[in-house]
Amino acid sequence: MSPSQTLPIKNTLAPADQAELASDVREAFEASSPLYPIGGGTSLDFGLPAKAQGTGLSLAKLNRVVDYPARDMTVTVEAGLAMQSLAELLATERQRLPIDVPLAGQATIGGVIATNWNGPRRYGQGAIRDHVIGISAVDGRGMPYKGGGRVVKNVAGYDFCKLLTGSLGTLGVITQVTLKLKPIPEQSVLMAACAADAAAAEKLLAALGRSETTPAAIELLAGPEWESHPSLAALDRAPPGRSYIVVSLEGTAPEVEYMIRQIEAEWRALGVAAPLVVGESAALWHGLIEFSAVGNSPLVLKANVVPSGVTAMAEAARALDPRCSIQAHAGNGTVFIKLATFPAQGLSRALVGKLQPVAAAHRGNLVVLANPSGAEMTHQSVWGGIDAPFDLMSAVKREFDPRDILNRGRFVYV
């Protein structure tokens, strides 16, 4: 969907640089008129639906590479740069930002940071928050500010890199960032196993947490989308209710070779009859990265729980909708749930009544990632998070955006 279909905007500004952007924000501040920052437009469904009529603020023209001192393993880019373009640039130096993002040709680095997006490799490589070392933004008055710098270690001043990661553009429009980079490993393969039920899956996941290997990703997959995935067809012999465990192994050739043998041994010792080496499967990787964005799911949810709660969360989702598809970054406790049908009892009863309590029992939360129907999108159903310190967050918001012009009404503030 285009931004104008998702957001209540008539027009969209596209400033050419930070100074022009700051002046646009200043004007909006003076008029107390809401602004909706737009990166690649891939996550506009995330958060509460915007209600206040306002103006789009596109970062499309802020897409320059400011500085790439490859030997320092850092890069400074403007926020509107697409993830795919960034990856291509870094690959010329055999480097990467190990954050896997769907629709990378559209999604921008600023949007990835604003939404705190993390993919499968978070387990071995860390989250986006661990890679942002400098950040520039424009606050709700139109005042530019920055935090961090361009060096990999720095404790001068408050850490705006962390504060702005996941802030959904509500404390400032992110305009430029400096990122810490990693080398691209020599080899990368996937291995997969089938687990007959939740208990078997938890046994495998717990064992992976103590494995002699160092997986880059530990994924739990379940539901029709994976049962029909060609890369997993060779495993497809287990009963309904099964799930798949997929691990990503990265490193030098001897390291990867060792890990394949070791995982095989560890899995066989746990009763896995036929571990599958999927190899450098482009199709399966593509599936793992794009899962949350593809298809026509009427409701996409994201739970964040402790790793031992992943299988329980998946079971609860399947109890609600037996045809849902699930992908969990199981090593980190992130569970994506794509429902096949919109819950018949309504969003609030399904989430507040059923799934949020399961997430809370496993020390976490459950949020709505996308609900194209827009029905019942209340603070409680979208953000859950019963015990979250929303008061304090709102106090921070008031200081950075006193007239509430940045993404008004969409985030957690009360």
């Binding site: 860390g126 530019p144 001068a156 001043g157 390291e255 060792y258 998070g385 967050m393």
Partner: protein, 479 residues
């Protein structure tokens, strides 16, 4: 202005925590007049040792009612005056809240009280296959609460990251006495990353009373090497080559000849005393990959004219090598009556430049400077040696220090990589940040600490003030 007399405050504090947990006699307070930054000293009016979160909340509410400033303190090993009680007030020392509350290996976290000493957690995890990654050199003394306040680093942060990368959540008492849990054992709590804001805020946003830390799987193996170089330039070039080759060592430390002599006298490791610099390089991970990385590193060092590259033989030698490195600062007393450590950061490729500059500054001011630092991160710790009884030397040391840090900024770096701003570096904040940046930082502080009665006059320059005017450099231990 205080609305209650000190005597009433002391009485009430005794009621809250018991008389054995309050210090108010002048002689008892002397210990608390500074941390590792000894230039400026000021006694708190009273020191209190809470036993639990409820105590902290009650103390904070009392301070608000009494109209007195208050601040938290851990073990006092910080190096920038972060726990200097500017303006006196109540110092809340958290060292008696020292329990490890939970270790959960399946979900890879531990919950600790702020007074837990960093190394206690490592010791408690022995044999589990997990460890807590941040390892500041002061880890035998510093507390995890203090590590959270300063976002501590350490040698192994090159690969594993600093404290903020390992804190999942905190329980905190806000400046008004409210108790909040922010984050917790699960990742990605809903809403703003307030944990990320609190870590490294040097005690100015909240008092942390409980910490959820991430546990890290132990590596299967290590290869620890000692590269011996005839010149500092060669050593710093080797660092650049290693990082540039896509190798991420677990640690990469440099010691120059000046510090080597002292360390060798103290620990008799067998360091070559005629070398101009040595690199302490450690790679860790899967055994299957370590020999290849080691060989590659040896080759790169040789390419940069290393005289030799030694390997640590076995775990015992490895630990001795690390002990020598981590306790290097303790050996400095052999070199000079006083010293002052700086904590600048430069992009890694600028290391040859900044070290040449330090040599030049050393010669120009007639101040001897030795170096031991986290080279892989570009985090330099030049140590300026002097005699604090000589007023002229003292002034030269201050000027030389400022010049080194100015050069770090000119290289696109920072004036602090891990020690913090505290009161020591407040006068650099205007050089690193614009008025807008500082205004935004002030806004964050106001949201948490609107009356500015929690750790006042730290981290940010106050309007019209210039922070501390430095008259004497400190003699102090360092990371």
């Amino acid at each position: 202005m205080p609305t209650l007399p000190l005597s009433s405050i002391v009485t009430e504090l005794r009621e809250i925590v018991g008389p054995q947990n309050v210090l108010a006699a002048h002689s008892d307070l002397l210990v608390y007049e500074c941390d590792g930054f000894t230039i400026e000293k000021n006694s708190p009016d009273v020191v209190v040792f809470p036993r639990d979160t409820t105590d902290v909340a009650r103390i904070v509410k009392l301070c608000n009612r009494a109209g007195v400033p208050f601040l938290p303190r851990g073990a006092g090993t910080s190096l920038a005056g972060g726990c200097l009680p500017v303006g006196g007030g109540v110092m809340i020392v958290l060292t008696r809240m020292k329990r490890i509350l939970e270790i959960n290996l399946r979900d890879r976290y531990a919950v600790v009280e702020p007074g837990v000493v960093n190394v206690w957690l490592t010791n408690a995890l022995k044999g589990t296959g997990f460890h807590y990654a941040p390892d500041p050199s002061s880890q035998g003394a510093c507390t995890i609460g203090g590590n959270v306040a300063t976002n501590s680093g350490g040698p192994h942060t090159l690969k594993y990251g600093v404290t903020v990368n390992h804190v999942l959540g905190v329980e905190a008492v806000l400046a008004d006495g409210r108790v909040l849990q922010i984050g917790g054992p699960a990742e990605d709590p809903v809403g703003l990353d307030l944990v990320g804001a609190i870590v490294g805020s040097e005690g100015t946003l909240a008092i942390v009373t409980k910490v959820w830390v991430r546990l890290t799987r132990n590596p299967q193996g290590y290869r620890t090497m000692l590269g011996v170089f005839e010149s500092i330039d060669d050593a710093t070039n080797a660092i650049s080559e290693i990082i540039g080759a896509g190798i991420v060592p677990a640690a990469l430390e440099l010691m120059d000849q000046g510090i080597l002599v002292a360390v060798e006298a103290a620990f008799q490791f067998g360091f070559p005393l005629d070398a101009q610099a040595i690199l302490l390089i450690e790679v860790d991970g899967l055994e299957a990959g370590l020999d290849q990385q080691r060989d590659q590193i040896i080759e790169l060092c040789k390419k940069c004219h290393a005289r030799e590259v030694r390997q640590a033989n076995g775990e015992k030698e490895r630990l001795k090598l690390w002990k020598s490195r981590k306790q290097a600062f303790g050996a400095i007393g052999r070199l000079s009556p006083s010293y002052c450590t700086q904590d600048g950061v430069v992009p890694r490729t600028k290391l040859p430049h900044i070290l040449r500059k330090i040599t030049e500054i050393s010669a120009r001011y007639g101040i001897r400077i030795v170096n031991v630092f986290h080279a892989g991160d570009g985090n330099i710790h030049p140590i300026l040696l002097f005699d604090e009884r000589d007023a002229q030397q003292v002034q030269q040391v201050l000027k030389a220090s400022n010049e080194i840090l100015d050069e770090c900024l000119a290289c696109g770096g920072s004036v602090t990589g891990e020690h913090g701003i505290g009161v020591e570096k407040i006068h650099f904040m205007h050089k690193m940040f614009t008025d807008g940046d500082l205004a935004a930082m002030k806004n964050l502080r106001i949201a948490f600490n609107p009356r500015n009665n929690l750790s006042p006059d730290k981290l940010l320059p106050t309007a019209g003030g210039c922070g501390m005017e430095q008259k004497r450099p400190g003699r102090r231990a360092a990371l």
